[in-house]
C-alpha cells in the first residue's frame, strides 16, 4: 500500500516537472516535447487494446486523422471543447462499427479491416470535399499556443496510463489476460470475449482520436493526405513494440527514444527515412519481439537464476 502511494507521489511529481518544462526550453523545445508526448499517448493507447489481446491494429492514423479533420471542419462553428467532444464521438462511433464487424471473428479479419481503413476514410473525405463542399484543404485558426497543446496532451497521457493502470488491477484486466493467453479457456470461464475486446478497442480508439484533435491546431493548414499519413500508424506501432506492448510504461519508454531518432532521421535523411524505419521495424520484430522491458526482465531472471545456481 505504501508503495502504491509512493508510486503515485513520484508520478505526480514527474507530471508537475513535465508541465513546468515548457517555461525552460525554447519554442523548438516545446515543439519537440509536444510531438513526443503525442506519440507517448498514441503508443500507450494503441497498447491498451493491442497489447493484451494481441490484435494488431493498423488503423491508428484513421482515428488520428478523424480527430484532426473534425477540428479542421468545425473549429469555426463550435467552441473548442465542443469540437473535441464531437471528434471523440465520431471516433467512438467508427470504432464501434469496426469492432462490431470484426472483433467476434479471428484476429486476422480485424487486422485486414484496419489495414485499409485509413486509406478508405482518406478517399471518402477527399471525395466528399471535392464533390460536395468543393474545397480540398482547410485552415485552422485557433488561439491555442503550443504550450497549451502540450499541457492537454500531457493530461491525456496521464489519463491513458492511468486507465491502463486501473484496467490491469480490475476484473477487466484479469479477463484480458485470460483472453490473451487462451481464448477458449476465457470463453469457458464465462468471459464475454467480444464485449471485452469491443470496450477496450473503443476506449483506445477514442483516445487516439483525441490526440489527433488536440494536435490539429499545430498545422494551421489541413488536408486529407496530411492527417491520414500512414507513417503515423507505423511509428506508433514500432514505438509500442520496442518498449513492450504488455507493460504499462513500455510504450512510453519506446516512444521517447524513437521519436528523437525519427526527428533526427527526417532532418538528415528525408528521402531514405521510410527505408530505415522499415528495416528497424523488422529488426525489432526479430530481436525483441516482446519489447525491451520484457527482454530485460528475462535477462534479469536468467542472471539471478545463474547467481543462485553458483
Amino acid at each position: 500500500m505504501t508503495r502504491t502511494i509512493l508510486g503515485f507521489a513520484l508520478v505526480a511529481l514527474g507530471l508537475a516537472a513535465l508541465a513546468w518544462l515548457p517555461t525552460q526550453v525554447g519554442a523548438y523545445g516545446v515543439g519537440l516535447l509536444l510531438g513526443m508526448t503525442g506519440y507517448v499517448v498514441l503508443a500507450s493507447a494503441w497498447a491498451l487494446f493491442s497489447g493484451p489481446t494481441r490484435y494488431v491494429s493498423l488503423a491508428t492514423v484513421a482515428f488520428f486523422g478523424i480527430g484532426a479533420y473534425t477540428v479542421a471542419v468545425l473549429s469555426e462553428t463550435l467552441p473548442y471543447w465542443a469540437v473535441l467532444l464531437v471528434a471523440a464521438g465520431i471516433g467512438l462511433a467508427v470504432a464501434l462499427v469496426v469492432g462490431l464487424a470484426t472483433l467476434r471473428l479471428a484476429g486476422v479479419y480485424f487486422v485486414i479491416f484496419t489495414f485499409g481503413l485509413a486509406e478508405l476514410i482518406r478517399q471518402l473525405v477527399t471525395w466528399y470535399e471535392v464533390n460536395v463542399t468543393g474545397t480540398l484543404g482547410r485552415y485552422i485558426f485557433l488561439p491555442i499556443s503550443p504550450e497549451q497543446i502540450y499541457w492537454q496532451l500531457l493530461a491525456l497521457a496521464a489519463l491513458t496510463i492511468g486507465i491502463g493502470w486501473l484496467i490491469a488491477r480490475s476484473r477487466l484486466g484479469l479477463a484480458l489476460k485470460v483472453i490473451g493467453d487462451d481464448e477458449t479457456v476465457a470463453a469457458h470461464t464465462g468471459i464475454d470475449i467480444s464485449g471485452v475486446k469491443l470496450a477496450l478497442f473503443a476506449v483506445s480508439a477514442t483516445i487516439i482520436t483525441l490526440v489527433g484533435a488536440i494536435q490539429a491546431p499545430r498545422w494551421t493548414y489541413v488536408e486529407p493526405s496530411i492527417v491520414f499519413n500512414p507513417t503515423i500508424s507505423f511509428l506508433t506501432l514500432i514505438m509500442a513494440l520496442l518498449g513492450g506492448a504488455n507493460r504499462l510504461w513500455g510504450p512510453a519508454l519506446g516512444a521517447i527514444p524513437l521519436f528523437l531518432l525519427f526527428e533526427w532521421l527526417s532532418a538528415n535523411f528525408p528521402s531514405h527515412y521510410s527505408i530505415i524505419l522499415g528495416l528497424m521495424f523488422i529488426a525489432i520484430v526479430f530481436v525483441v519481439p516482446r519489447g525491451v522491458l520484457a527482454g530485460v526482465e528475462d535477462l534479469w531472471k536468467r542472471l539471478r537464476r545463474k547467481g543462485e545456481a553458483a
Partner: protein
C-alpha cells in the same frame, strides 16, 4: 451496360490472378503478407522501366520479371519468414509476427520505390487501340491482360489440381500437421508456394502497368483488394478467389461508371463488411484448412 460488364470482367481477371497469389501465400505458407501490393507495384515499375528504357514490350518483360520475382520471393521467405516460422513452433505467434514483419517490409519496398521512381503517377502507352468486343469498345492492352490472366490462372489451376506436386501443396493447406506424416516437406513446399505467390503478384503488376496509371504509394489498395477477394472466396480456396475476383472487378467498374470513380474503395469495403457480417468463412462455404 454490356461494355461496363466486359470492362469489369477484364479488370476482375487481373484481380483474380493477384488474389490467387495472396491465397497461396496465406493459405499454404501461413504468411499474412501485407507487403503484397508493394511487390505488385514494384513489378509494374519494372515493366515500365523495361518498356521505356530498353524498348522491351511487357509480354517479353514478363519472361524476365516473373523468374526474378520468383527468386525474390524465395529469398524473402528464406531470410525473413523462415526464422519466424521456426520461432513460432514454440510460441505460436506466426500470424502476428508475419503481419508485423511484412508491415515493416511494406515501408522498406515503398521507400525504395519512392527514392528510385519518385511519387508521381506513371504510365506508358502499349497497344492502346480500341477493339470491338460484342459491341463494346475495349482497349487491346486490357484484352491482352485478360488473356494473360486466363492463361496463367488456368495453368496454375491445372498444376495445383491435376499434378502430384500441386496435390502436395494443397495437402498443406488442408492440414499442415498431418502433411509430414505422408512424407511432405512442409518447409520446402511453403517456401515454394510463397515464391509462387510473389510471382503471381508480379504478373498482376505487369498487367496493371499495361492499362492503368500507378504510383509508388498505391500498393496498400491492391493488398486490400486482394485480401478482400481472398476472404470472400474463402482462405486458401483458389476457385473462390477466381470467382470473387471477377465479381469485385465488375462491382468496381459499375460503381466507377454509374456512381463515382472516387468511391471504388468504399464499394470494396462495403462488400467486405457484408461478407464479414453474413458469411465470414467466404462465399463458398467452409474455408479450406482453417
Amino acid at each position: 451496360m454490356l461494355s461496363t460488364l466486359i470492362t469489369g470482367l477484364v479488370l476482375g481477371g487481373t484481380y483474380a490472378l493477384v488474389a490467387m497469389g495472396l491465397t497461396l501465400q496465406y493459405g499454404i505458407s501461413r504468411i499474412m503478407n501485407l507487403a503484397y501490393g508493394e511487390t505488385l507495384i514494384f513489378a509494374a515499375f519494372a515493366a515500365f522501366l523495361l518498356f521505356t528504357t530498353f524498348g522491351i514490350n511487357p509480354i517479353l518483360g514478363l519472361v524476365i520479371i516473373l523468374p526474378v520475382a520468383f527468386a525474390v520471393g524465395y529469398v524473402i521467405y528464406g531470410v525473413m519468414m523462415q526464422p519466424l516460422v521456426t520461432r513460432s513452433k514454440k510460441s505460436g505467434t506466426l500470424e502476428v509476427d508475419s503481419i508485423l514483419a511484412t508491415f515493416g517490409l511494406l515501408f522498406v519496398i515503398q521507400g525504395v520505390m519512392l527514392v528510385a521512381f519518385g511519387s508521381n503517377y506513371t504510365s506508358y502507352n502499349y497497344l492502346n487501340v480500341g477493339i470491338n468486343v460484342l459491341g463494346a469498345n475495349i482497349a487491346a492492352n486490357r484484352l491482352l491482360a485478360f488473356a494473360l490472366a486466363v492463361i496463367i490462372g488456368a495453368t496454375l489451376f491445372y498444376v495445383l489440381t491435376r499434378t502430384r506436386w500441386g496435390t502436395t501443396i494443397r495437402a498443406i493447406a488442408v492440414n499442415p500437421n498431418a502433411a509430414p506424416l505422408v512424407g511432405i516437406d512442409v518447409n520446402r513446399t511453403a517456401r515454394f508456394a510463397f515464391a509462387l505467390g510473389t510471382m503471381l503478384a508480379a504478373s498482376g503488376g505487369v498487367m496493371i502497368s499495361m492499362y492503368q496509371t500507378f504510383n509508388a504509394s498505391m500498393g496498400v489498395v491492391f493488398t486490400m483488394k486482394a485480401l478482400v477477394i481472398v476472404i470472400m472466396g474463402g482462405l486458401g480456396n483458389l476457385m473462390g478467389a477466381l470467382v470473387a475476383g471477377l465479381l469485385l472487378g465488375v462491382v468496381e467498374t459499375l460503381v466507377a461508371t454509374y456512381v463515382d470513380p472516387g468511391l471504388t474503395l468504399a464499394a470494396t469495403y462495403l462488400i467486405f463488411l457484408a461478407v464479414l457480417l453474413w458469411k465470414p468463412a467466404g462465399l463458398f462455404g467452409k474455408a479450406a484448412g482453417r
